[in-house]
């Protein structure tokens, strides 16, 4: 029963936890450790009959906290090359690689905000609850992150329409 529970949870949410840790830590071994720790913690709590979304949010919040602990040992980190983690190459790789590197260069709070917003599709209010900060802060981080990324990607051919075209960017300050 324990194996089945873990298997189901990891199958459904393992990739999300792993990607978040990877984006934050930029190190595969550390990301795997965090993943293991997060799911073991879930197991220690038994099988609280959570709604799926609640469970996922709990896992990601726990992952953020675990990452913060790991991070204390790593003040500076090299960016992890995308080809090492994303499997086979595709023709968009140069473009994607530049984007990944630009995101990796953001300060951690911004990076986590961008990741949760764009990769996991959380709303700013949900991200605020997960990170324990006001929603306005999340929106400010997103706006500043977009400005920074634009700056980082400017000049190369990939910068022009990173996210501006998606129309889903939250307005700073609007609730």
């Amino acid at each position: 029963m324990q194996d089945a529970f873990l298997h189901t949870a990891m199958e459904r949410y393992g990739p999300a936890v792993y990607r978040l840790a990877l984006c934050r830590l930029q190190n595969r071994a550390d990301a795997e450790d965090v993943c293991q720790e997060v799911f073991l913690r879930l197991l220690r709590r038994g099988d609280p009959a959570w709604e799926a979304e609640h469970l996922k949010a709990w896992l990601l919040r726990t992952a953020l906290q675990r990452c913060a602990d790991v991070k204390r040992r790593w003040l500076r980190h090299p960016v992890l090359p995308l080809e090492e983690i994303a499997g086979q190459a595709s023709e968009e790789d140069a473009e994607a690689g530049a984007l990944w590197e630009a995101v990796a260069a953001l300060p951690a709070p911004m990076r986590m905000t961008v990741h949760l917003y764009y990769a996991e599709g959380y709303r700013t209010e949900e991200i605020a609850a997960m990170m324990g900060c006001p929603a306005a802060t999340v929106r400010t981080r997103l706006r500043r992150a977009r400005e920074k990324l634009k700056g980082l990607l400017e000049g190369d051919a990939y910068g022009e329409s990173l996210w501006e075209a998606d129309g889903t960017c939250p307005d700073a300050g609007g609730t």
């Binding site: 873990l6 792993y18 038994g46 009959a49 709604e51 906290q65 324990g132 889903t168």
Partner: protein, 394 residues
Amino acid sequence: MENRYGKLMERVPMPEGLEERVLQAARREGPPPRDFRRRALRGAVCAACALALVLGGVRLGTRDGGGAPSWSLGLTACAADTGASYGAGDNAVLVFQEDLGMHWSAEGGYYTASRFQVEGDGIAEVALTLSRGELYRASAPAAAADGSFTLPVPERLGSSVSQDYDPEAVYGFWVPGAAAEDWQADPRAASRESLDALDGAVLTVEAVFDGGAVQTRRYTLSTGLLREETAADGTPVLQPTLAGDALAVHYGVCAADADATRLLEWPVAGADTVRLSAGYDGAALHDGIDIPAPAGTPVLAAADGTVAETGFDAERGNYLVLDHGGGLQTVYGQCREILVQAGDAVSAGEQAAVLGNTGMSTGAHLHFQVLLDREPQNPLAYFDAALRRALQAV
């Protein structure tokens, strides 16, 4: 919609073998806490939102001085779902989490998930008295052949009971008058509302030790919002918190040991909003709280004591440390001006500084921190329930 980052991340798979690695680690660790929820009792009501509980903290125990025999008596909170027990947290406050989904209403009453065990050495008999509501004794779950568990109806004990000591005995609070229809509409709200009947109640625990010595402990109960934090050793710890706290997702009972809990007065008259120190990965209450108020507002001593230290540093600005004895200290930072000097005696409610905006600060506020033996504590655990209710996190 063009979300190139999202697409990029979708291409990142979980490494092969990671799942197997976690499964193996889990097997090494042994089975998870037993899941009693499989076959809930008749009338069982499960709150939809329930994070599993854990509390950490210091073991309660008596602090007998001198050469008296070391009888010990204390309570531990007992997680309703896993049965794990936890000692008191900051300021000798024991926290019970209610929204575990392991409570139910039956027989016109509500068996709360707030449960405890009596622990101690050499106890022969315990007498429990609750000033409001009643107590029940939880029964051990019965295992069926198919691995599922059923939970027999607990034994109601009334408001006062005396029993032979059983270290395994788990007691819980029972609240009268839970209407079944409320529970069908919104079990979570009904559970909180029922639990609030315990607010202000006093639990008295009396232990008769082998040889006849008697020891009594009194606990004042309060109900309210809880937030979950992670202790240094990684265990989650529940903390009392305020309305408006984004991390206040739990509800439960706090039991303050009347002899060991120390209460502070509010340091900024007129200010009723609080910013809980907001780090971005899990704000920690132990870093202290910020109390915004206009610059120039008096900063009041939170308790009687002496001035241990005054000074300035880049982070805290003008700051003041008061010593209240017994290892308890309060720190006041970001002040415009300090009005006392090291060695001065101050009494509770006396103005000791002027609120300001010095140090690493963006806007006038008081940074307030509580230390016990130099270890940062959750300041909110040092304010009584009525004061906590008058405050709002922003």
